[in-house]
Symmetry: C2
Subunit: 168 residues, 2 copies
Amino acid sequence: MPQGRGTRVPRPSRVPRMTTTATLWFEDVRPGETFHFGPYHVDRDELLAFNRRWDPLPIHLDDAAARARGLKGLSASGQYTLCIKQAMLNGAAWREAIIGALGFDELRFPHPVHPGDDIRLEIECLETRPSQSKPDRGIVKFHFRLYNQDEVLVLSYLDTVMFARRPG
Amino acid sequence: MPQGRGTRVPRPSRVPRMTTTATLWFEDVRPGETFHFGPYHVDRDELLAFNRRWDPLPIHLDDAAARARGLKGLSASGQYTLCIKQAMLNGAAWREAIIGALGFDELRFPHPVHPGDDIRLEIECLETRPSQSKPDRGIVKFHFRLYNQDEVLVLSYLDTVMFARRPG
């Protein structure tokens, strides 16, 4: 499971990716920037264990049951897809700055995730604004997109996060 | 972790809850009905293991780090909160009828989840409509709300799900 601290791609020029090593604070994340993470390989045993523990629907456990519902084979719980998205962020350069998740909007699962998939994550910063009430923080809105190895979109949503401002 | 198959509460009369034992299909889920699940007890060890595996931010692992960010103590990853929501649904009477998750809207985490919390789930059916293209299924929109033991809302969102219609 290769992970980076997140590579940032300035837009629209698409110059070569630069790996960021310093902590990014609220002030360092700018609208229009895109960060790339992953890929994350979906291991069949891990997926099955997760589905069994948290979301044991027949379509999440059994290939035949999934095919009977028009799927290619057993598929990930949406919760698993959200977890691997989160795991890919573990090394993100802004990790120290996160105060908390505020919410998700327009979250869609347009295509199922299956065992053997290699999932990559692309995050575009849409908007940043300082908190009105607390001077030590600000709010960042990202567009999260997950793609499989065939570049098929499997998850898309808007994620609003509370960031700490650079200390001092 | 007591779980039911979901108890349905007709509205607005609030007559005594009836436990449903037969499978509910698309046709059986009606706008205005509310279903209740849980409670789910948040075990500190389980929460820590989950956070460590999927979302090891300092605020998810360490009481002091969480307090430094204004939290009461270490708190659940949003992904954990979504997973316990899903686990509470395991016994839902419509479980056999689920074809897949379409998406979440207006998802908010208005209050953190902490070790020791007892979380309950309330699901209100807002809307149902048959699929335009596939006669064997229909779409159901629910409002999901999770509350802690103090009746504080910890998660709220709209969940759109593809249901199978009653076979035959």
